[in-house]
Amino acid sequence: MSIEVERLSYVYAPGTPQARTALRDVSLTIADGVCAAIVGVTGSGKSTLVQHFNGLLRPTTGRIAVGNVAVTARLGGARLRKLRQRVGLLFQFPEAQLFAATVGADVAFGPHRHGLTGAALRERVRWALRSVALPADDAFLARSPFALSGGQRRRVALAGVLALRPATLVLDEPSAGLDAEARNELYACLTRLRSEDGLTLVIVSHDMSEVATLADTVFALADGELRLAGTSNVVFAQRDAILACGLQPPPLAETLSQARERGLMSGASAEEDGTLTPETLAGLLASALHTTPDILPFLARERVGG
């Protein structure tokens, strides 16, 4: 489901002395099926922006269309419920929203509210749990969410939103506070949801490594304004603009820029269209530094080995 934002502005507490403009004249389009990242420091307006996507906030001025639904001040009733079902929103530390006594009841809450009952509801719950790589057997459904590990709790919360079968999933800082294993499991779930179920993903983050790993489109906000937009390679190449937003470019991209700045890459080919991985960057750097790039790695490996 595509999201089109046109000249969107949002003012908190309008008409009062402490009115604060959180978004100013933001225009962007998130195409169907992409994984878009919205990046910016705390207070840049990124959370305010995504809360428009499922109608939690309404534009002060400007337009926003999610699929064929226009999010306006008047949106309500069945159309709003439909929008909230189509756009799943997962807040930061979503495990804090778990409330039911069992995993099953918690995941079932959303779809039940949307009218699903009986066998269909049970099947939906199991599907959602399987989608986040959790066991879907009766024993697990009967467990208390509070007895699970941090990473599992977060995926139960994700399942609770997925159980609505949204077409778009918005995640605010999805991996904050998770350890390596839990984080990798979460990334695997998200990648699978996108490739197998065709979900459009919107990730709000200030972790640029995470953005570089998951997203293909990046929007950078600062002081409520859209500063950068484009594919991740294009955005990450604009180092100074990223720093001006108060963000750190992904470490690999930053290493490459610094190496270039200090004249290390003069001998290298200008090949930089592909996504940077430790492997590709190591190749680039090594070929720039070595005069005989083909022999040295072999020798080096020998030395490490023996």
């Binding site: 499922n54 929203q97 039911a100 779809p111 039940h112 949307h114």
Partner: protein, 280 residues
């Protein structure tokens, strides 16, 4: 700037009301509360109520607190009083003040009058009850609006200190007050975030059937309590790490000696209320 301040918050200022010591304000508030309750036994003597009302309104004006903000905060209480008053007017027995004949009802040839009897007791009781609620609520709001939580906590500690021999934990009570006031905005923010999260997955708080709303509220209670408990646990560790309860008597940061204005009010207000109560 007050418009969006949640209840229990401090609004910085430099007025005379702000400069009064927290203990002065606490003692006056408690004194006036007692005076209002006792004055309730003195039928149709408005003196104490008028004095309290005048004092509080003067304080509102001096502290430059917008009446609109106060009214907004008092809306719920006003509504409750509006709903409750008719019942207390009708259902209090005593000497009749006035009988309202509404209509008559004919039943098997008998004509029965439908009338509402309002007694003097009903009138006085309704008036005093509403006045006590409104004035005390206003007074408490003024207290927290014009006193920093630290000063308030220190005031409570100082006032309770003489009662230590009863093993009354004065310092702990002060800290409890401070922490409670300190965490109001944090917990409100947490609740706001949680409401949005649950709404996003289908909960209903404002529309829908009463059943749906009850279910909606149920999705908030467990997470909110869990969050508050987690914070309380972290906070107690942090307080311990910062040396709470390790030693001795605390230094007072805000509550200094009482000044002339404090003494003046502490003498004049009780004297006036006593005069009004016994002589007028």
């Amino acid at each position: 700037m007050l418009e969006n301040l949640p209840i229990g918050m401090y609004a910085p200022g430099e007025s005379l009301v702000h400069h009064l010591r927290a203990r002065t304000k606490l003692v006056l508030l408690i004194w006036l509360a007692l005076a209002l309750f006792f004055a309730n036994h003195h039928y149709f003597h408005y003196g104490v109520y008028a004095l309290t009302g005048a004092l509080l309104l003067a304080a509102v004006a001096l502290a430059r607190i917008s009446p609109r903000y106060l009214l907004r905060r008092m809306r719920l209480l006003l509504l409750l009083i509006a709903i409750g008053s008719p019942f207390s007017l009708i259902w209090t027995t005593g000497t009749t003040w006035h009988t309202f004949n509404l209509s008559t009802l004919s039943l098997h040839g008998l004509t029965l009058p439908i009338q509402i009897v309002v007694t003097y007791d009903g009138l006085w009781f309704t008036f005093t009850f509403a006045a006590i609620l409104l004035l005390l609520y206003l007074g408490t709001m003024l207290l927290t609006l014009t006193t920093t939580p630290v000063a308030l906590a220190e005031g409570i500690v100082l006032l309770l200190r003489p009662l230590r021999w009863l093993h009354l934990p004065a310092d702990e009570f002060g800290l409890m007050t401070l922490v409670a006031l300190r965490f109001v905005p944090t917990l409100l923010q947490e609740a706001d975030q949680l409401i949005k999260a649950q709404v996003s997955r289908g909960a209903d708080f404002t529309t829908g059937s009463p059943r749906a709303r009850v279910r909606g509220v149920a999705t908030l209670i467990v997470p909110l309590i869990q969050g508050a408990l987690r914070r309380a646990g972290d906070l107690s560790a942090a307080l311990e790490a910062r040396g709470y309860g390790v030693m001795g008597q605390a230094t007072l940061l805000h509550e200094g000696r009482l000044r002339l204005l404090d003494w003046a009010l502490l003498v004049i207000v009780p004297a006036l209320t006593l005069l009004l109560y016994f002589k007028l």
